[in-house]
């Protein structure tokens, strides 16, 4: 696939879900909290474009609101990762070899040493299942990812002449990190952010599937899958539709991440030309 096409397909898929999520704030075809047992398990029709579930709720509406839940959880989780991980990584790189560097990086190793989903389950089990706790649990594991990426790429920038020139100009390490290092690693962070975003959506789906994510009546893709489980032979569409949504969204984000990397990395660009 051509890198350009990859980027556009990925961005298009992601945009569809984002627009659906935004639209759900203002309008959904039906009320997702209203139970209407009379209309349960309806097939696709003009009134219910994707059919209804066993409580008679409209699947399309639930998918739209579910997209909102997934995107919100993943977005905030990536935000936590960027907000804590990037400054830590910049600090560690600016003070390479210092005690601070050791503490930050060994702390990262420590977090990496725990299986993330199990810890997330633990957190939600202790503090109670809710979307907020799911966000926190997923976000914490994003911190070391961003800290590592930031430190690694920042270290190579610290050897460049323009950083030396800034030091000769009397600038402190903090200021150089913000003015020279950060703008030059933004590309990498955007790409990493896209990948972590898709992982966040998967993690949210997994937590909701085991009942530790968003709580009823808030619709969530993971819980839709879980509820459809018992009816997989009678009404397979109930499981297939949220499953497809998860796959399409994650695929779209990954394609977009790969496309962005190719677009933003001058080395890849040159190799192609």
């Amino acid at each position: 696939m051509r890198p350009g096409a990859q980027l556009w397909i990925g961005a298009g898929l992601s945009a569809v879900f984002l627009l659906a999520a935004l639209l759900s704030f203002a309008w959904t075809p039906h009320d997702v909290t209203a139970l209407n047992i009379a209309d349960k398990l309806k097939p696709m029709s003009a009134t219910y474009p994707l059919g209804t579930d066993h409580f008679g709720r409209d699947i399309l509406s639930m998918l739209m609101v579910g997209a909102r839940t997934s995107i919100a959880v993943a977005l905030v989780a990536v935000g936590i990762g960027v907000g804590l991980g990037v400054p830590l990584g910049l600090l560690a790189a600016a003070n390479r070899g210092s005690l601070l560097d050791e503490v930050v990086m060994r702390g990262n190793d420590l977090i990496f040493a725990f299986p993330s989903l199990v810890i997330a389950i633990l957190i939600t089990a202790v503090f109670g299942p809710s979307a907020l706790n799911a966000i926190l649990a997923i976000g914490i594991f994003n911190v070391p990812v961003f800290a590592r990426v930031t430190r690694g790429s920042a270290l190579s920038l610290w050897t460049l002449d323009y950083v030396l020139a800034a030091r000769v100009a009397g600038k402190g390490r903090l200021r150089i990190s913000v003015e020279h290092i950060l703008p030059n690693i933004t590309n990498l962070l955007i790409v990493q952010g896209t990948i972590q975003f898709s992982l966040g959506i998967l993690a949210e789906a997994a937590l909701s599937y085991v009942g530790l994510g968003a709580q009823p009546p808030t619709p969530s893709w993971g819980r839709m899958l879980a509820e459809a489980q018992t009816m997989i032979y009678t009404n397979p569409a109930l499981a297939i539709l949220p499953g497809l949504a998860i796959v399409a969204m994650v695929l779209g984000l990954n394609l977009m991440g790969d496309g962005l990397r190719d677009l933003l990395d001058p080395r890849v660009r040159r190799a192609r030309g």
Partner: protein
């Protein structure tokens, strides 16, 4: 016999080579001289059938009876390495770091001839011995990282000549090497040509190297060969104006007045700088390497002081200590009486008095800033940005010959020479007394270099600047400094007025350096001035 006939190459529609015709005689050295971007390397790649994607070639490249350009890729693979060998500029990246030198030389043999590994290793042993790496001192199981730059280039040469090719293409083979190493590698190449009867195409930007090596020289400019002929005749006549310009630039002597005052500006007093080396074993103690060992010197106001030495001699380490970037382990460095100690909190009043220009015009600037912000960066040292900052940036740019309208552009829009001018503007902006020029002209083409040297001389006179001019290029140091210091293994082995040191060097190392520097024979230049 290799013959290029009307070779033209366009890449993505842009004409890179136009109608290049060149005969490369067997058993002779053919020199191809030109500035960067003149098409020298593309000429070589065309001969190897290695043109980059998106290029189209017309014309012929005859290797004996066959036209290289018409051959399919499979035949070219059989030809490369077998009948045409090539060595590159950068010996550090031309070898696979995970393979032993013996394996790398033997590999070429095993691809092209159905030799057993044992036979191939035996030939590799002979070849490596021929290029000056005898197996008793350099066993075949050495890895590239265990060798110096010059030794690696020898391995590259052994690989290229393993199969006795008819043509060896050497693309700037010594540009990345020190002068003494360069002299040895050039000797080796000349010996190989004489003994094996192969042709050598020597691609270089250095007229002096060509004058000492080549039998036949072609001068290239913007994709055309503007002049070619037997070396001596070409140097004596210089029929084409471009050749004359190149020649004048390579021996350019900026007009400058010694203006050193008696007051000391920079005092380095028994400076010592140690590095920790890698631990040996898991629990071994890290070793210490003394990069600068008790160096003392004084730089006067308005003086140009040269510091020459080969790579690894400690000149960069010393520079970093002077700039307050790294701490000393002993001794002291004072600028106008104030002591320089490393760390982020070095007093801004000292920092403001010295600035630096680095070698690489491409790595010296944050690619995401506009020129105005880049040049104004050292204003960080003054208390608050001056109100007339934009004017002062414009004036500094004007001073270095960049039109002030350039302030709103990004650095990638400028050529290497322009970037180096902008780097000088950035150094000038705080009105420093000392500018450290760390190989500041080494990466530039000769004509651009001559312009920058003129600029430096003019700025020195206008602003009363002192220069610490660090370079491995002796001829440049000779043309722009009042006094020179020669550094070797962390110590200064000789110091004195530039002319005295160059005319009558007293230390053996200085003598070796000067002897190794390639020069154009003096009597070849006679008619040029007529």
């Amino acid at each position: 016999m290799i013959r290029l006939e009307n070779l033209s190459v366009t890449i993505h529609g842009a004409e890179i080579l136009s109608a290049v015709s060149l005969d490369i005689a067997p058993g002779k050295v053919t020199g191809l001289v030109g500035e960067s971007g003149s098409g020298k390397s593309i000429t070589a790649l065309a001969m190897m059938g290695l043109l980059p994607h998106g290029s189209t070639a017309s014309g012929h490249a005859w290797l004996d009876e066959g036209d290289v350009l018409a051959k399919p890729e499979r035949e070219m693979c059989a030809l490369r390495g077998n009948r045409v060998g090539m060595i590159f500029q950068e010996p550090m990246t031309a070898l696979n770091p995970l393979k032993t030198i013996g394996d790398q030389v033997a590999e070429t043999l095993m691809i092209h001839r159905r030799t057993t590994r044992r036979e191939a290793m035996e030939i590799a042993r002979q070849r490596l011995a021929r290029v000056g790496l005898p197996a008793d001192r350099f066993p075949l199981n050495r890895y590239p990282h265990e060798l110096s730059g010059g030794q690696r280039q020898r391995v590259c040469i052994a690989m290229a000549v393993a199969l006795n090719p008819e043509l060896l293409i050497a693309d700037e083979p010594t540009t990345a090497l020190d002068v003494t190493t360069q002299a040895q590698i050039l000797d080796l190449l000349q010996g190989l040509v004489a003994e094996e009867g192969m042709s050598l195409l020597l691609i270089t930007h250095d007229l002096a190297v060509v004058s000492g090596m080549a039998d036949h020289v072609a001068v290239m400019q913007a994709g055309r060969i503007v002049e070619q002929g037997p070396t001596e005749t070409l140097f004596r006549t210089m029929a084409h104006p471009y050749t004359r310009k190149l020649f004048a630039a390579s021996s350019h002597q900026p007009a400058r007045m010694p203006q050193a005052e008696d007051t000391a500006l920079l005092c380095v007093d028994r400076a010592v700088r140690d590095y920790a080396t890698a631990r040996i074993g898991l629990f071994g103690k890290p070793g210490r390497f003394r990069a600068v060992n008790g160096v003392s010197f004084t730089l006067h106001r308005g003086e140009s002081l040269g510091l020459v030495g080969e790579s690894g001699c400690g000149k960069s380490t010393l520079t970093r200590a002077i700039l307050g970037l790294d701490p000393l382990q002993g001794g002291a460095i004072r600028l106008g009486g104030q002591e320089i100690h490393a760390g982020p909190h070095l007093d801004a009043s000292i920092r403001r008095r010295m600035q630096v220009v680095f070698q690489d015009p491409y790595g010296s600037f944050n690619p995401r800033w506009r020129v105005e912000r880049l040049v104004a960066e050292p204003f960080h040292l003054s208390d608050g940005r001056p109100a007339d900052m934009r004017d002062r940036v414009a004036r500094a740019l004007d001073d270095v010959g960049i039109e002030p309208g350039a302030m709103d552009r990004y650095i990638h829009e400028f050529s290497g020479g322009q970037r180096q001018r902008i780097a000088i503007a950035r150094a000038l902006i705080t009105n420093p007394e000392l500018i450290v020029l760390d190989e500041a002209v080494s990466a530039l083409d000769v004509r651009v270099r001559a312009q920058i040297l003129d600029l430096l001389a003019r700025l020195q006179e206008a602003h009363g600047l002192a220069y610490l001019f660090i370079s491995h290029d002796l001829s440049v140091v000779r043309s722009v400094t009042d006094r020179v210091m020669v550094m070797k293994s962390g110590e200064i082995v000789e110091e004195g007025p530039t002319e005295t040191v160059f005319a009558a060097p007293s230390h053996d190392y200085t003598k070796a350096l000067i002897a190794a520097t390639p020069t154009i024979p003096a009597d070849w230049q006679g008619e040029q001035h007529a």
